[in-house]
């Protein structure tokens, strides 16, 4: 703290918010002094290994784990039947319709397995290798049942069933309609229909899942690599009927999540039950191959889209018919993920009519659930690809077609056709800035030149002008969508006797940098030095109240809760300060951490002085309790709507199909920014994941329902050599729905970038009659699209990725990319 002569603090109000402060969390991370869950092994810890189904679908006839028990070091071996009475059913918190089919989901399969990798039995042993070795001794007889892999076939009459007792593979159909779509389709002179496939993705956080449960009498502490310690605690209590107050969940250092750790995993439930049964700490850490099969997957939708427009390019209506692969079971928010997209297919555009129908389909594959963006990337891809198709159809520049349709900055707040109110935005400003940074006209000129020269390497320019709804979410909206909880967030601020500050947040970071950004907010609001603030999180015993981290909600909800809690501290301190200064409260001003009497700057008390006086409590005003500590729970009135314009230049080698990203410009508007360094990092990482969907990644199943991309050699998350250098910039249109003017940023890059890249590839190939390349746009698929006599169809989701993986069914679906 800088203290001037006379004890007056140097003005520092506003110094932290907006400053690119280097992160506090780095110190331990760069030194290897980390607390990943797998790093913790209390004395006496037993290690668990799971035996998993090798079948996509089979009846379990017999499990004999007795031989495993004789192996050295083995303490116990169990089948699902051994836990049938206590393991309950894994929760789904989002019954999207009243008649949604919701099958039981035992953490360890008892009578039937429905995807490869489903846990069937486990061994608990002194060390990990002993547990793993003993899996070989478990004898299981299966009676194979038919795999169900294709969504259209799964919905057909007489299809084999994933869940026999449900009588159907359809989980639900969810519909939203607004405006007269039939009229739009009937009357509009331009109607474009397309089918896109959002291939199945594997979130692939770098830290594999890990859980350690330590029993202490009737109490349990469960450490887990989770995004959601608070939700997990409640759900564990619900599933196991162990009372909530007997369970403490700790999310220590968590190595990325991207939605994959927004889950209540069977292994977490079983770790708790095993610790209870055995009375010893129990730990399980997955291998990557195990994780690829069993951590929930993302995306996997077939989108059938219709866009109706006037000849001048104005959109009349948009229709989205979606099939969404649930996989074998409904996990925490599985059915709701595609529904989060329902409000985004209209993008940033005005239109008269909109219809969205989504059918959730069971297949014998790994369940799907949240993956960075969760429903909005799919929607944004659809509308942004369709805008380019419309531009091509009409021969209008893709930027111009968007200008003719987007909501103008003076039209905010704007109620969209999907029923949301976009509070603010300035699409013109973001687009103008992006065009300038991109040197759009220059690249278009180069494109024209390459076309004229019939250069084998063609240049394409992809546009994506996106918005998204994040900051999940207003509780009343979640209620109207039948979600099982609210969307608020909690923060508390503790002022210690020495004037140091502890911030407790219900947001649970796993790489985002909350410890830094939250300290910046508190430092500014309280006028204390950044170094005097410590941020506590991720432990239900320390931070008992929270809704955790996902949906780009931390800052827009948790940060605002902190902002309010700080203001409450100041109001409490004001009463004490007024008393100490013998002044009226209304005559005090609070600047840079100090109360002073208006007009008499010399007379003042710092927050630290007030804190000490409050701690001593010798001389407090009547009726004032001796504490400045304050809580706030913020429930937003609206989502936050970050937006931006992303432009991608791709060089496509028409002879090899190779795509090289030449330039990528992202101008994002995430409102007011707390830490621009962190924001830029979030954008970079988001771009990498969105580009990866466009170019590299796909979870591939063979014809028998085996996942063939179980390793990082088969499931291609990009390396440094696979990605371009990004040009990022920002415009700043404050959100009006919260007092800080902030919006979410975590998912924006992922949502925006996938269509920008594919639009660029298709733009390069349009002169060759290509109007689509199915994702991921591997060289083979680009090459096939170029050589296709007919219009490229789309691929099956989750099959035939062309990634070089052995893929038995790949031959069928690869023809989708072109002629075989």
């Amino acid at each position: 703290m800088t203290v001037q002569e006379g004890g007056v603090q140097e003005g520092r109000a506003g110094a932290e918010i907006g400053s690119p402060r280097k992160r506090s969390e780095d110190a331990r991370l760069i030194a290897g002094r980390t607390q990943w869950t797998d790093n913790m092994t209390p004395q006496g810890t037993l290690h668990v290994a799971f035996l998993r189904s090798p079948h996509a679908h089979a009846r379990i006839v017999r499990v004999d784990a007795s031989q495993a028990m004789g192996r050295p070091g083995v303490v116990a071996a169990f089948s699902g039947a051994d836990f049938a009475d206590e393991q309950g059913s894994l929760p789904c918190a989002w019954p999207v319709t009243d008649d949604m089919k919701h099958p039981d989901h035992p953490p360890m399969a008892v009578s039937e397995v429905r995807f490869v990798g489903e846990p069937v039995a486990c061994v608990v042993a002194r060390d990990k290798s002993a547990a793993f070795d003993a899996l070989d001794e478990i004898d299981i007889d299966y009676e194979p049942l038919p795999a169900v892999l294709n969504m259209d076939a799964a919905l057909a009459e007489g299809s084999d069933l994933v869940h026999d007792d449900l009588g159907t593979n359809k989980s639900y159909t969810w519909v939203f309609e607004n405006g007269d779509l039939d009229a739009a389709l009937r009357d509009a002179p331009v109607v474009i229909e397309r089918e896109y496939v959002q291939q199945r993705l594997i979130p692939t956080a770098m830290e594999p899942r890990s859980v350690l449960c330590v029993p202490d009498g009737d109490d349990f502490t469960l450490y887990s690599a989770t995004q959601i310690p608070h939700i997990l605690r409640l759900m564990l209590a619900t599933v196991t009927e162990i009372p909530e107050h007997r369970i403490r969940v700790v999310a220590p250092d968590v190595g990325g999540g991207f939605g994959s750790k927004l889950q209540v995993c069977g292994e977490e439930v079983l770790a708790l039950l095993l610790a209870r049964r055995l009375g010893r700490p129990v730990k399980w850490t997955e291998s990557r191959s195990e994780g690829n099969m069993t951590v929930h997957h993302g995306r996997d939708q077939i989108q059938r889209l219709t866009l109706a427009a006037e000849r001048d390019g104005r959109i009349r209506g948009f229709k989205a018919d979606i099939l969404a692969d649930m996989g074998a079971y409904l996990m925490l928010v599985t059915p709701g993920i595609p529904i989060l997209g329902a409000f985004m297919y209209n993008g940033i555009y005005k239109m008269d009519a909109y219809s969205f129908t989504c059918t959730g389909v069971f297949t014998t594959k790994t369940p799907t659930d949240a993956y960075r963006g969760a429903g909005r990337p799919e929607a944004t891809y659809a509308i942004e690809r369709m805008m380019d198709e419309l531009a091509a159809e009409l021969g209008v520049d893709p930027i111009e077609i968007r200008r003719r349709n987007w909501i103008a900055h003076e039209e905010f707040p704007y109620e969209t056709i999907a029923g949301l109110t976009y509070d603010s935005g300035n699409y013109e400003a973001a687009t103008d800035k992006a065009l300038e940074l991109f040197e759009y006209d220059k690249l278009r000129a180069e494109q024209a030149d390459r076309r004229d020269r019939r250069d084998p390497v063609q240049l394409g320019i992809g546009v994506s002008t996106f918005t998204e709804m994040c900051g999940i979410a207003p509780s009343r909206v979640l209620g109207s969508l039948s979600y099982g909880a609210g969307g608020w967030e909690h923060a508390s601020v503790r002022i210690l006797a020495s004037g140091k500050v502890e911030v407790v947040t219900g947001s649970s970071p796993h790489g985002q940098g909350h410890e830094t950004a939250w300290a910046q907010i508190a430092a500014d609001r309280l006028g204390v030095p950044f170094e005097d603030v410590r941020v506590l999180h991720g432990d239900t015993a320390i931070s008992p109240k929270g809704m955790d981290t996902y949906g780009s909600r931390s800052l827009a909800i948790g940060g605002v809760a902190l902002f309010s809690a700080c203001d409450k501290v100041v109001e409490k301190a004001r009463r004490v300060a007024a008393h100490l200064l013998e002044a009226a409260e209304q005559d005090l001003e609070f600047t840079a951490g100090r109360f002073s009497v208006r007009g008499v700057q010399e007379e003042g008390k710092t927050l630290q002085e007030v804190a000490l006086a409050t701690f001593a409590a010798h001389d407090l005003p009547d009726g004032v309790e001796p504490s400045l500590d304050s809580d706030a729970t913020f429930d937003p009135e609206n989502f936050s709507f970050p937006h931006g314009t992303h432009l991608c230049a791709a060089e496509v080698d028409t002879e090899t199909g190779m795509v090289h990203l030449r330039k990528y410009v992202a101008v994002d508007d995430v409102g007011k920014v707390i830490n621009p360094l962190i924001v830029e990092g979030q954008v970079h990482g988001g771009l990498a994941q969105g580009i990866a969907q466009a170019l590299y990644e796909e979870a591939v199943y063979d014809a028998d329902g085996n996942l063939t991309t179980t390793t990082m050699a088969d499931y291609l998350i990009p390396s440094a050599a696979d990605l371009p250098t990004f040009t990022t910039d920002r415009t700043e249109t404050p959100a009006t729905s919260n007092p800080m003017g902030v919006k979410g940023v975590g998912e924006a890059g992922t949502i925006a970038s996938t269509p920008a890249v594919v639009n660029a590839i298709v733009d390069a190939l349009r002169p060759y009659g290509v109007n689509d390349v199915p994702m991921p746009c591997t060289p083979e698929r680009v090459w096939r699209a170029l050589r296709s006599e007919t219009k490229p169809d789309t691929a099956e989701p989750g099959a035939g990725g062309g990634l070089g993986s052995a893929s038995a069914s790949g031959s069928d679906s690869d023809s989708a990319g072109g002629a075989q």
């Binding site: 280097k22 992160r23 969390e25 780095d26 110190a27 991370l29 760069i30 030194a31 290897g32 002094r33 980390t34 990943w36 797998d38 790093n39 092994t41 060390d127 990990k128 290798s129 692939t204 956080a205 770098m206 830290e207 594999p208 250092d253 968590v254 190595g255 990325g256 991207f258 291998s287 990557r288 191959s289 796993h510 790489g511 985002q512 940098g513 360094l677 962190i678 830029e680 990092g681 979030q682 970079h684 990482g685 988001g686 771009l687 990498a688 994941q689 390793t711 990082m712 050699a713 998350i717 390396s719 440094a720 050599a721 990605l723 250098t725 990004f726």
Partner: protein, 163 residues
Amino acid sequence: MPRIRVEVDGATYEDDVEPRLLLVHYLRERLGKVGTPVGCDTSNCGACTVLMDGMSVKSCSVLAVQADGSDVTTVEGLGIDGTTHPMQRAFHEEHALQCGYCTPGMIMASLDLLRENADPSETEVREGLEGNLCRCTGYQNIVKAVRRAAKEMREPAGQEVTP
């Protein structure tokens, strides 16, 4: 069980190990050096990269017995005595980490990269780190950090550098 003698981060260890024991498991489970994490089981991700006799190895692809007689440096062995290594500092300064799980491996691989090429171009850094995967950063700031560290290691602070 074979007996090995290994120097790790400045301390000497002698242990009987199973022949199949991987170096990374020896480090984590026998020595408690959990600063080196495991990110995959097919030697693709590079999170477990350490230096063995000065050269980077993915410690999941080395058997503990192969490390017998070697000098191993993990991320915990950098910046001993309260200092930080220029590479660690550069990762912090350039915001080259988010969740930090890949960071130990990234830092160790980058050190080996600079051993071979003290002044790598952006492309050379990207290609040189191809064996280390990061899911958070999009790599841009990692590339910047490695080049920043390279500069600092070529021109140590406080040392006069002639133009």
